[in-house]
């Protein structure tokens, strides 16, 4: 009974999201461009929210998110390529493919998490810009390794991947990321992270294993970057080092800061706003990035704490807030 309830609580968000996503996908069946734009934006949401766990919640400064993305992407892509033509016993081909894809994504998350552990363990003693350099360096090292490994396709990468990523998959990824982030901040562990962000010395003095928690945040965040990577390469059916340069990492940092450090909904909104803005400006060609950069500057100057600051969207809506407060008091 208890396990049933537990399963219910942990799966509930996904069970609710699934039909919604199916309907969304169905209603967009005619508009492939809307779909791909939404999927790309969704992947950005996963990236921004997961990086926010490190940069926003924990107050560390990582600019190597694309590196972890690459680890997850290559793992997933390699698995999909290796299992091409494989059909899981007892499953119809379509289902088998989906299960394999799920497993590949999972494997990507695990290897990315492993990479996070590898980078995080020694380096999280470093602070601020020094940590930034290490993460940036890791991003570059990953790139160099890929470019030099024939097994990974070097500069060309792995092409001819099947298109496995759908709106439903991205949607579920987004839900998983959001559930992770919200449940994390809403827990004693999340508060430990926030405490580290606020004052490391005091957090340590209050019994928080600061190094341990920083590593954990890093590992979780990396895992979801890996998920985003896996989704991305099976969306564009191509896995190349060019998708994972430090420029990508910086784009994600921009989303996080613009959304508000530590605000999950802020990251979501800013990832969406920036993705759609870039998409909307695509036809502007050469002027596109100029307009985009002006948008960045203006947004940051007018909302210097980010779109939502450290708050969440419901903290901004007074009526909702009141209702929650009342609920909380009971």
């Amino acid at each position: 009974m208890d396990t049933l309830k537990l399963a219910g609580r942990s799966l509930l968000p996904f069970l609710v999201a699934l039909p919604v996503l199916w309907i969304a996908e169905g209603s967009l069946a005619d508009s492939k461009s809307a779909q791909i734009i939404l999927m790309a934006a969704g992947i950005n949401v996963i990236l921004a929210v997961s990086l926010n766990v490190v940069n926003g919640f924990t107050g560390q400064f990582s600019i190597g998110h694309a590196g972890f993305m690459a680890v997850g992407a290559y793992t997933a892509a390699k698995i999909i390529v290796a299992t091409r033509g494989l059909q899981l016993v007892g499953l119809p081909p379509a289902v088998s493919d989906q299960v394999l894809f799920f497993l590949a994504l999972l494997a990507g998350m695990i290897t990315a998490a492993g990479a996070g552990l590898l980078v995080g363990m020694p380096s999280l003693r470093l602070r601020g810009d020094y940590l930034a350099i290490v993460t940036l360096g890791f991003n570059e090292i990953i790139r160099v390794i890929i470019e030099n490994t024939p097994f990974l396709g070097q500069a060309t990468g792995i092409s001819g991947l099947p298109r496995r990523t759908t709106l439903v998959w991205v949607g579920m990824g987004v839900v998983a990321t959001l559930v992770m982030a919200r449940r994390l901040v809403g827990s004693t562990h999340g508060r430990a992270l926030l405490a580290i962000r606020e004052d490391e010395v005091a957090a340590e003095a209050m019994g928080v294993d600061t190094v341990g928690y920083k590593v954990r945040a890093f590992v979780i965040s990396s895992a979801f970057a890996g998920l985003a990577g896996g989704l991305l390469v099976h969306l564009i059916q191509l896995c190349t080092p060019r998708s994972f340069t430090f420029v990508k990492s910086i784009e994600v940092v921009v989303m996080v800061v613009l959304g508000g450090m530590g605000s999950v909904t802020g990251s979501v909104v800013s990832a969406l706003v920036l993705s759609f803005a870039l998409e909307g400006l695509r036809e502007a060609q050469q002027y596109r990035m100029v307009l985009y950069s002006i948008l960045l500057i203006v947004l940051m100057l007018t909302r210097p704490t980010g779109i939502f600051g450290t708050r969440e969207i419901w903290d901004m809506l007074p009526r909702l807030k009141r209702r929650r407060a009342e609920g909380g008091a009971q």
């Binding site: 537990l6 609580r9 449940r183 994390l184 004693t188 508060r191 430990a192 405490a195 003095a205 019994g207």
Partner: protein
């Protein structure tokens, strides 16, 4: 001494020395606190009082000497471990988690006394929910004790100074310590506020059965509340004993209190103590 001899002290410092480059901020520092003892640590500015706190709580690893918590040697352990073993502190310059609410500040300190694990948080298991509820309940109790219940959802940075001080104490208490170290808790308060703080400190000791070590420059506070005093000067203990004795110790008067102090002030302490 008030406590019986055979009880293991909550904290013991043996010949603790802290060296910063050429400066010996603390030398051969000796301290022992029995459960429920209330001891004051005083001395001129720069005597090494805060440094002693830092050495006891693991912020600095002592250059030499040993620190024992409940009989267990803790030198060189990380502060969070020492905290989990039962030493909590406040800071001379307030170090709250400024952008967290009052209740969250306290809940962070309840953190290490949770039961459910890390993954439980994501699964929202029953154990986790129970855990959270009990953490919240405990945090609210501490806020209540410190008279901060009405500030529950305020950001720490928006609290007035005196309440920030009290919140820091509440936070330290929430770690469930055997020994509470207070670094100048009354600094920046006016006389009336100090009086209520004094009462509060006694209440904490009685209610939670803690040992308390307090650094304070205000003699009314420290003499009023402490059962024993330890006086540091230039990193060396120059005097120790009950307040009445220490107050009259010429070395202490010379190094710390000053003649004017004696002449001018009749030390009157409200409540028991004096």
């Amino acid at each position: 001494m008030s406590a019986p001899e055979n009880v293991t002290p909550v904290i013991e410092a043996r010949k603790v020395t802290m060296q910063f480059g050429g400066l010996k901020a603390l030398s051969e520092f000796e301290l022992e606190l029995k459960p429920r003892e209330l001891v004051g640590l005083i001395g001129p500015n720069g005597a090494g009082k805060t440094t002693a706190f830092n050495a006891l709580t693991g912020v600095y690893a002592p250059s030499s000497g040993d620190v024992f918590v409940s009989g267990e040697r803790v030198n060189g352990l990380r502060p969070y471990v020492i905290c989990q073993k039962g030493i909590a502190r406040t800071f001379q310059n307030i170090r709250l988690f400024k952008d967290l609410t009052a209740v969250d500040n306290v809940r962070v300190a309840c953190h290490h006394r949770r039961e459910a694990g890390f993954t439980a948080a994501f699964l929202r298991s029953a154990a986790f929910i129970k855990d959270e509820a009990s953490i919240t309940r405990r945090a609210e109790e501490y806020l209540d004790v410190m008279g901060l219940a009405h500030r529950r959802n305020e950001l720490a940075r928006n609290l007035p100074y005196g309440e920030q001080r009290r919140l820091e104490i509440a936070r330290a208490l929430a770690t469930g310590p055997k020994l509470l170290c207070l670094d100048e808790p009354a600094a920046g308060m006016n006389a009336s506020e100090k009086v209520s703080l004094l009462e509060l400190i006694r209440k904490i000791r009685d209610e939670f059965g803690l040992a308390i070590l307090i650094i304070e420059h205000d003699m009314r506070v420290v003499m009023g509340v402490s059962e024993r005093l330890v006086v540091l000067d230039h990193g060396v203990i120059i005097s120790r004993g009950p307040p009445e004795k220490v107050r009259k110790d010429p070395k202490v008067i010379e190094a710390y209190l000053g003649d004017a102090y004696l002449a001018e002030k009749q030390i009157s302490v409200p409540g028991e103590g004096a």
